[in-house]
């Protein structure tokens, strides 16, 4: 056993002990500062947790890149969607005048907003890129009400940690942490390129989260729930994505 000198054994032992101690401290710090994603379990949990924690340390307040008007894509691509439900078709027939966004959960004044209610709140626009996890992308101008304006309207309680959002279509929902929910570029989007948001692109109402991949920008949003834990939604993984094998955090 000449491979292992005493010195090597001692230094290896110390390194392992320091590593284990470091992990325990990192775990406590991560929990304290909310750096653990809902889908932190399982084989890929460590990678997902490192992604989310690193991004939250680096990018908590950073703004997604905005582009000049000349870079707006001439041929944006509306990804394939399942045929709309009857509920959607009924609302579409009425020109979406009966569309409602219900807001509930940890808020002082739960309520429901029509599209014109949303338009009466401050409306902003941004020219940002939609990036699909598959690899393709396009740039468009997005017009809508920042989510934080709606959250201010309903009075988010201080213990809120996530906003879960639900499409009118079945099994289509997701959630974001408060860093993304209060982010100035997270829009309840109603317009695209100076017109109404087309149905193919998520109209009449899509939650755009431009610092994350396209699948976080759920189309046909009809309900928001402010919560301190996503455990009670679906399988408790924070969105429908991890249930289908995809990561909850999609900023990467």
């Amino acid at each position: 056993m000449s491979y292992f000198s005493r010195r090597k054994l001692v230094t290896t032992g110390l390194a392992v002990a320091a590593g284990a101690g470091g992990l325990a401290v990192a775990d406590r710090v991560a929990r304290r500062y909310g750096l653990i994603p809902p889908d932190h379990g399982g084989f890929y949990g460590p990678g997902e947790t490192l992604d989310y924690a690193a991004q939250r340390i680096l990018t908590r307040h950073s703004l997604a890149r905005e582009f000049p008007r000349t870079m707006i894509s001439q041929t944006p691509f509306a990804n394939a969607i399942a045929p709309p439900s009857d509920a959607f078709k009924r609302l579409q027939a009425g020109g979406f005048s009966d569309w409602r966004l219900a807001v509930d959960g940890m808020v002082a004044r739960p309520g429901s907003f029509s599209l014109s209610d949303l338009r009466s709140l401050p409306v902003h626009s941004q020219i940002t890129e939609v990036v699909c996890e598959e690899g393709w992308s396009y740039i468009a101008e997005w017009i809508g009400t920042p989510l934080h304006e709606v959250l201010k309207e309903v009075g988010t309680l201080p213990q809120a940690r996530y906003v879960a959002y639900f499409s009118i279509e079945r099994d289509w929902w997701d959630s974001i942490d408060m860093a993304d929910a209060l982010h100035p570029q997270t829009f309840l989007t109603m317009g695209m390129n100076d017109g109404d948001l087309p149905v193919g692109f998520g109209g009449p109402l899509r939650l755009r989260v431009p610092r994350q991949l396209g699948y976080k920008s759920v189309k046909y949003v009809a309900r928001l729930t402010v919560t301190d834990s996503v455990k009670r939604f679906g399988k408790g993984l924070g969105s429908a994505a991890p249930e289908g094998g995809y990561a909850w955090y999609a900023g990467i």
């Binding site: 990018t59 996890e133 094998g245």
Partner: protein
């Protein structure tokens, strides 16, 4: 030190397989900021896709494997980067870069390069010294992989993260846009695979058993031994 090599091997294969799976979901590459099926690709890989929205000429779709592929890709990337950090710090500490990798002054010439390549082509015996240290061409290849290709593949990969780009827009803008970064990520991977093929071929040609023993245990065979 040798452990970092083998961890890198595992992480690299995980990245290669998962990266390939992700490409299957959109086997088209573009240049510039944006690119999608309604735009002209720079080039297309003639394989079927796991998405029905991509025109491939094939009548069938591959199964969607992006979920676990993306999880695995990023997890393996962390393993690779952290292992690389350990390797880099240890190499500076022990002088591995200076002694074993950076070419000696006399070898930083085309002549030294040519000599080694001529030797390879003639399949001449490489001499006693070469079974214990790297020649000029090997040193160039290793330095290029460690200090150029790996940093580039990490950079072009990070540039594909929309959140990372929000904090460091220069990371993607300097590459000419998001789709350019994706295409470069693909090409740099190609160079790394090319290195891998030559590297494995060389190990095989120089005596698989004795090289493997050296790469795993750090012990060289007796001089001249080439089992």
């Amino acid at each position: 030190m040798r452990v970092t090599h083998w961890i890198t091997v595992i992480a690299f294969f995980a990245l290669l397989i998962s990266g390939g799976e992700i490409v299957i979901s959109h086997p088209r590459f573009y240049w510039g900021e944006t690119g999608n099926v309604a735009m002209h690709p720079l080039f297309t890989i003639p394989i079927p896709s796991s998405r029905g929205t991509v025109p491939t000429g094939y009548s069938f779709e591959m199964p969607d494997a992006n979920g676990w592929s993306r999880y695995l890709h990023f997890q393996a990337a962390w393993v690779l980067v952290l292992t690389g950090l350990v390797y880099g710090i240890a190499s500076l500490w022990t002088g591995h870069f200076r002694m074993n990798l950076f070419p000696a002054k006399a070898d930083r010439t085309w002549r030294a390069f040519r000599d080694v390549i001529t030797k390879y082509l003639r399949r001449a015996a490489l001499g006693e010294a070469e079974s214990h240290s790297y020649n000029a061409v090997q040193r160039f290849a290793y330095v290029a992989v460690i200090f150029v290709l790996f940093p580039l593949v990490i950079w072009t990969g990070l540039a594909l993260s929309p959140a990372f780009d929000s904090a460091f827009p220069i990371a993607v803008d300097a590459l000419g846009g998001r789709q350019s970064a994706r295409t470069l990520h693909f090409f740099v991977t190609g160079f790394l695979v090319l290195f891998l093929v030559v590297h494995v071929a060389m190990v095989y040609l120089s005596g698989f058993k004795s090289r493997m023993r050296a790469m795993i245990t750090g012990r060289d065979g007796a001089p001249g031994e080439n089992l």
